[in-house]
Symmetry: C2
Subunit: 117 residues, 2 copies
Amino acid sequence: MPREDRCQCRVIHEERIAGARETALDKRETGLLAQLFKAMADLTRLKIIMALAQDEMCVCDLAAFLGVSESAVSHQLRMLRQLQLVSNRREGPVLYYRLADHHVSKLIEFALEHIRE
Amino acid sequence: MPREDRCQCRVIHEERIAGARETALDKRETGLLAQLFKAMADLTRLKIIMALAQDEMCVCDLAAFLGVSESAVSHQLRMLRQLQLVSNRREGPVLYYRLADHHVSKLIEFALEHIRE
DNA sequence: TGGATATATGAGCATCTGTTCAGATGCTAA
DNA sequence: TTAGCATCTGAACAGATGCTCATATATCCA
């Protein structure tokens, strides 16, 4: 990539840019990271995850707890399912959702410590 | 909140909803959490944070490293500054940005472990 | 099988978000 | 003070996102 494609400024610290490039994660992992954070960046999804960290819940329970429509919950659960953050178990017509992995709730706890400083 | 305002379904586990309500964080903390995750949910910002975790960098360096305009970088840095995730130091006309707190990069490392499983 | 319940899904829509562009600000040196 | 560079900022626009509504699917039971 020729210099003029990158930046017109005079003050560039080439070595820092090179350093950043070296330590940077590959595109795939960076994308996955962003996806994971995006999953928790929405209030509805964040609350779903935190609720499921306590106990499994059905769509209806979650909708009641969050005060949103079941359709909205279902749409968000779909995204969380696709990211394999939650899984479900069927009992008759009812689907019970739970966290697929408690790594995520640890991540939230960790972030919470940052907020509380 | 009367029952009919919440959910029309017959199958509700009142005690789970109550349990979720009890353990739920207050509105302010939940909002801050979502904001923090949102800050890391965008590829540009995530890369900025990861780059600054290595070394401080000026806007120009970051723009060159990321391959985006300086204006775009500046806008994103503004958001990260408002969330107090980054701070800067002036040296003449150049502003050097760095992480305000390495908690954030630890958070990324932690999330990375989840991704690598 | 038919009807009721729980959930899923797709389309449509309003809002949010990230970028670009133009212009403003701040610092330095001549 | 003026010119030049680095950065910031606001407006505008395109694309992403989350919700709603209508409909589809799945399970159970009469």
